[in-house]
């Protein structure tokens, strides 16, 4: 068991965005979270990546309770994530984005910076090396010196994934990795996600493109109005009546 949530709940004022969700992610799998707009998918992500504190319930990662852990510690523990609106350091280059992604793995402090100690040089060398390695993995080596503003939407999506990968996560959370890219690019991104899973990183993604989800995921969780309404293999989910009702509307939903 890599990640486990128990009765995870989040309220925004009077609105219950997420209602007592129990979920488990096994090491090495690709899991997908689907559901209509506003179902609480992103809220779930924001909770399990430590971006928001939860209101009740708990989260454990690799057997450790993470419910009250501050945001930055989640990355250090091995949970990496991307955002729905592609979030990058916009005023720097592709390479520089990745270098800063490795910061949590380096130890150098102000003293090392001012005196340019061997640790500072070692850390800077390691960040650069790791950044180049990830650049190669996500296939953006050619765009290395490009300012982020100049690269395509699809390249930006790859870079955002790369940014999460640089910190060497064990669990990678991808929030709509294929939103806003065309069909051909979608399958390329799916290839990248598959490749990430093959390196031993567990992937959890939110996605609206059903074809991609059905092909990629080993397991799917369906959320609607903040509650889990179904969980299972792609085949089970595509035949589940409650899921069909939630997507198409109908009596089972009421």
């Amino acid at each position: 068991m890599l990640l486990k949530t128990k009765a995870l709940t989040k309220n925004f004022g009077g609105l219950t965005a997420l209602n007592k969700v129990d979920f488990e992610i096994e090491e090495g799998e690709i899991v997908a979270i689907i559901g209509p707009n506003g179902a609480g998918k992103s809220t779930f992500f924001n909770l399990i990546s430590g971006y928001y504190p939860s209101c009740s319930g708990n989260i454990s990662f690799m057997g450790k309770d993470m419910t009250r852990t501050p945001t930055h510690k989640f990355a250090c523990m091995g949970i990496g994530r991307t955002f729905q609106t592609t979030n990058l350091f916009t005023d720097s280059t592709v390479l520089d984005n990745l270098i800063i992604g490795y910061r949590s793995k380096t130890k150098m402090g102000m003293f090392d910076a001012i005196f340019n100690t061997s640790r500072a040089r070692r850390d800077e060398g390691a960040s650069r090396e790791k950044a180049e390695e990830v650049l190669d993995f996500i296939g953006l080596t050619a765009a290395k010196w490009q300012p982020v503003g100049n690269i395509s939407q699809e390249a930006a999506k790859r870079l955002a994934i790369g940014l999460a990968l640089v910190a060497e996560p064990r669990l990678l959370l991808l929030d709509e990795p294929a939103a806003g890219v065309n069909h051909g690019e979608t399958s390329e991104l799916a290839g990248l996600i598959k490749k990430i899973q093959q390196t031993g990183i567990t992937v959890c993604l939110i996605e609206h493109k059903m074809q991609m989800v059905m092909n990629l995921a080993h397991r799917i969780m369906v959320l609607n109005y903040g509650s889990k309404i179904a969980e299972g293999t792609p085949k089970e989910i595509s035949n589940n009546e409650r899921v069909i009702a939630a997507y198409l509307g109908g009596r089972a939903n009421a």
Binding site: P70, F74, A75, S92, R103, A120, W145
Partner: protein, 344 residues
């Protein structure tokens, strides 16, 4: 080895340093020397501001408070306890840092406009405490007759020239430290927080600690600047921690260029030079500065240093492109030219 000898940047710095060293001998009168020395002292404080505003992206308006705090701690210790300048200055820097860290611990809980307002309030509070604590600070009368920096062996700091060199040495130290920070992973971390706090935190960067670190270092240098000011002017009044001074620092920074290494110095020298040459206009010279500021923010948002760098990068790119089309082979220089555009 010695690759730096081939860099035009290195030679440019060397020439500038040489100019700075011979300046007292070529300066036509002592008045210029005084203006430049004072500018250098202010520049040290502006370097501090640059770290917070330029690199970290947090607009702190408490800087004049820290400057005044440094000056008063140094002045009081030397006046009341007869301590040597070489002891009071580090103590002033440390005291300022400690106060700044406490202030930061509270104020970094807020963001954006709220942070600005809170730091402005803290600046005002420091000003008020210094002005009203009559028994300790002498209130509005200020501190008079602060001793000069004590001599080290045969070197004394009585003449204007020697004081100029003293301040120059500290300015160089500040620039050195700031450039090391800016080019290191620590500096990149600050810039990532400026870019997006949320993203930095999700990448595992402890935003609060890094903000405090930058704030502390900035206050340290602002404290040094304050102590140098006290030892140089030898009279300090509560006016030196007036929040107006913070806005002047900010003006210097905007003219020079945020998040650049040359910016604070260039901006301070240019703005102080202008102030002095516009003396005949008295209070109306602020009108000139107002217009200047609007023009800079509107047309040269990078400031003098920032815009120069952008221009150099553009020229380099054009030059490389021409070379590339002539030789029709990928040039190595281009990658270096574009490299500079990003995280600087």
């Amino acid at each position: 080895m010695f690759v730096f000898l081939k860099k035009p940047k290195f030679w440019a710095y060397l020439v500038l340093l040489a100019v700075a060293i011979v300046f007292p001998f070529i300066s036509p009168n002592r008045y210029y020397l005084t203006v430049v020395t004072l500018s250098f002292i202010y520049a040290i404080a502006v370097y501090g501001l640059n770290l917070i505003v330029g690199y970290l992206g947090q607009l702190s308006l408490a800087q004049a408070g820290f400057f005044g705090l440094g000056a008063y701690v140094s002045g009081l210790l030397s006046l009341k306890l007869h301590m040597s300048f070489w002891l009071t200055m580090p103590l002033a820097a440390v005291a300022t840092t400690v106060v700044a860290l406490m202030v930061g611990l509270i104020s970094f809980r807020t963001r954006g406009h709220y942070f600005v307002i809170l730091t402005l309030c803290i600046g005002v509070i420091i000003h008020l405490v210094i002005e009203k604590w009559d028994d300790l600070t002498g209130g509005v009368r200020g501190l008079i007759g602060i001793p000069r920096p004590t001599s080290i062996g045969p070197i004394d700091f009585i003449s204007l020239e020697s004081q100029y060199y003293l301040v120059l040495a500290f300015l160089m130290l500040t620039i050195f430290v700031m450039s090391r920070i800016a080019s290191s992973l620590v500096g990149r971390t600050f810039k990532s927080i400026r870019n997006s706090e949320e993203l930095a935190a999700t990448l595992g960067i402890n935003v609060m600690n890094n903000k405090l670190l930058a704030f502390g270092i900035a206050a340290f240098f602002t404290g040094i600047a304050g102590a140098l000011f006290a030892g140089y002017i030898r009279f300090i009044g509560p006016d030196i921690c007036n929040p107006n001074l913070t806005f002047e620092f900010l003006l210097f920074l905007l003219i020079g260029g945020q998040a650049t290494i040359a910016g604070p110095l260039v901006g301070t020298l240019v703005a102080n030079g202008l102030t002095e040459s516009l003396q005949f206009m008295q209070e109306y010279r602020m009108v000139v500065f107002g217009i200047l500021l609007i023009l800079i923010v509107r047309f040269f948002p990078g400031g003098l240093a920032g815009e120069t760098r952008i221009l150099i990068t553009k020229l380099e790119n054009r030059f490389n492109k021409r070379k590339k089309s002539r030789t029709n082979a990928p040039s190595k220089g281009e990658s270096h030219a574009t490299k500079d555009q990003g995280f600087n």
